[in-house]
Amino acid sequence: MKKSFSLTLSILLVLVLALAGCSSKTGSDEDGSSGETSNSSSLLDTIKERGTLKAGINDALPGFGYIGSDGENTGFDVDFAKAVAAGVLGDATKIEFRPLSATDRFTAVQSGEVDVLVRNTTWTTNRDAEVGLSFAPVIFYDGQGIMVPKDSNIKTLQDLEGKTIGVETGTTTELNLADQMKAAGVNYTAQTFDNADAVIAAYEQGSIDAWTTDKSGLVSRQSTLQDPDAHIILEETLSKEPLAPAVKDGDEKWADAVTWIVFATIQAEEFGITSQNVDDFLTSENPEIQRLLGVEGNLGEQLGLSNDFAYQVIKQVGNYGEIYDRNLGPDTVFKLERTQNALYSDGGLLYSIPFR
């Protein structure tokens, strides 16, 4: 009895030692790399060393992030992720897409599973502060809307009294809905779903009377419904939804790189530089354009990027207008007007900080 006990114990001990050896080894590896990021090098250097960008995207929102008919990830957000890859690595294809749900997207950024999150994410105070994110400039100004069947005769928020409204969990829309309905004094039932597909399935079956998300999301999803014309989006806008790319907080260098890549697309549109004519602009006499494209000065190097990062972004992905038109513009099924998302010079809200 005693003998077998000590035998078992020694076997156990060997096992534990082996296990502890493994775990402490991997542990110290992790520690080593994370220590590196905090002290000297930023995620930017890690990505360059790795040679690929890990981007968190949506794969179920036509127009913004979805799997196209060719099996590739496409969309407005996806193009911005590609722009970041082009700017950082000089190659828009060196990118690894990670489809994320609304609920696990922030954990993915916090844990470093993705380097950048471009997944129709609303910039809010709380997310900036407590959730540990750092946001790049807004790439899409949106507002929350509600979709109802045309034959339901619902025209305003007040008509939703007693109705059941579907919403995706873990989103700002979930919170705005509660706020707005309380302000309007409308009693309603909120049915929360884990993903957008489940909301649509329930809505199409009539299990919920209405559903809500960003208006662009409603438009994009409307095109995929069985009978798109049988549904309308209420005129009322429930909230401001500025959608922006996000990175992990506390890494200024990386956040700056993403920020200026976004600005480069906006600035390029302002100058009229497109993926088609960007090579002609290389010989431009305009010093502002020279600085943007890295012909003169070392703005890219200052950011820890190559000097021609903006050139690469524009050449490989395009300027803001091109990205917009390609995914959401008049030639697509969505036909979204630029309105707020036009350049400031056209009465919109897009304004790039000068490249100097």
Binding site: G27, E30, F106, G162, G170, T192, G206
Partner: protein, 390 residues
């Protein structure tokens, strides 16, 4: 002489010392690993500027929850939202355990039936539902069975039970003034009848005469209930019937399709395992027991109740406990069909606040609490039925 021998043994070969050293080493290693991991987490969180703490639980949740046993509004704090989730998990688990046990026992006995059809139907039931993934079953119930039901305006009705793709609305009890008195009377009646049943069985076994224990004890409950009703001139509960108001049902109680999908899937899935456990338990009792009972002149039903079942239950309870624990843990799949259990609500809170670690620890503690309580109850039950060794 022997004493001398042991003292001369070097320390590293001493049988008494080695285990002690080994255990100390073990504790040191485990401790180091834990300390290292905790440090790693804290330094990782510091890097992104997050701090640990439970203060966030008192902040306003501001998200709605569609079904809740207790009152809840978006103005309530996160901690109340978690409580709602906890109760929702509890609700689906407790009903799941009850229904799965009932169906499991019936199917288990049916599989052993001499009737060819009954045993084959039970076999097919078990093999189909046991060998397909639970998540897939939940999805099938949700998307293929409950969602395609008619819209709420055209809800199917069976009496006062309404079924639509928004869920089921069923009549439900309401409390009345003398509900408490009724409850006390009923408990007394049940205790009394159990006592009577045992007494009469004992008398019957000792005297060898039939004393009709089952009929007598049921009779006691029925007569007691009638007398109470005559005295109080009121039923134990009022009944509230659902009435359609154009948008939803007023009165009664509503079961969402998420809840129904999860409950039905969990019940069916777990009942297949329970039925196998019951079958194994009954078959685990040696055949000699049945034969001996027959030889002693027991009727087969009496033999099952007094001889086979008490022995089978000793075999059944331990694996049954594991199945109950599985059911509780599997209820976390509820998230997939929008049933707001503790995991679903925990995820929402993680998403809104960024306090991943703390929220996950709370969720884990809740499951641990449920599981340990279940284990404890089942162990007590087990002890009661265990073979008394003499």
């Amino acid at each position: 002489m022997e004493v001398k021998k042991t003292t001369s043994t070097p320390l590293w070969r001493n049988r008494k010392i080695i285990p002690i050293i080994a255990q100390i080493l073990f504790v040191i290693i485990v401790g180091t690993v834990i300390i290292f991991m905790v440090n790693n987490v804290i330094s990782g969180l510091e890097q992104i500027g997050l701090t640990l703490g439970l203060d966030y639980l008192t902040l306003k949740a501001s998200f709605p929850i569609s079904e809740s046993i207790i009152s809840y509004t978006p103005d309530d704090p996160y901690i109340r939202a978690l409580l709602v989730g906890l109760l929702n998990t509890f609700k689906v688990s407790i009903f799941g355990i009850i229904f799965a046990s009932i169906i499991g026992v019936i199917v288990g006995v049916a599989r052993l039936s001499d009737n060819w059809l009954v045993s084959k139907v039970a076999t097919v039931y078990v093999e189909v539902f046991r060998n397909t993934p639970l998540l897939v079953q939940i999805f099938i119930w949700n998307f293929a069975v409950f969602l395609p039901m008619p819209k709420i305006q055209e809800a199917l009705s069976i009496g006062s039970f309404y079924f639509s793709n928004r869920g089921a609305s069923i009549p439900w009890f309401t409390l009345q003034d003398n509900t408490l008195i009724w409850l006390i009377v009923l408990i007394l009646l049940i205790v009394g009848s159990v006592f009577l049943f045992r007494k009469l069985t004992k008398v019957s076994l000792e005297s060898g005469k039939s004393t009709y224990p089952l009929i007598s004890s049921i009779g006691l409950i029925v007569i007691g209930t009638i007398i109470t009703f005559l005295v109080l001139r009121n039923g134990p509960f009022g009944l509230s019937v659902p009435v359609f108001n154009g948008n939803s049902f007023d009165g009664g109680t509503s079961l969402s399709i998420g809840f129904m999908s999860v409950l039905v899937a969990l019940t069916i899935y777990t009942s297949t395992y329970i039925s196998e456990i019951v079958r194994a338990g009954i078959m685990g009792v040696p055949k000699g027991q049945t034969e001996a009972a027959k030889a002693l002149g027991f009727k087969s039903r009496t033999a099952l109740r007094l001889i086979i079942f008490p022995q089978a239950i000793r075999i059944i309870i331990p694996p049954l406990t594991s199945q109950y624990l599985n059911l509780i843990k599997n209820s976390s799949l509820a998230m997939a069909v929008a049933y707001q259990d503790i995991v679903g609500i925990g995820n929402t809170i993680i998403n809104q606040t960024g306090h991943t670690l703390e929220t996950l620890l709370i969720v884990i503690s809740v499951y641990l609490l449920f599981s340990l309580t279940t284990s404890l109850l089942m162990n007590l039950f087990n002890k009661k039925f265990q073979l008394v060794e003499r």
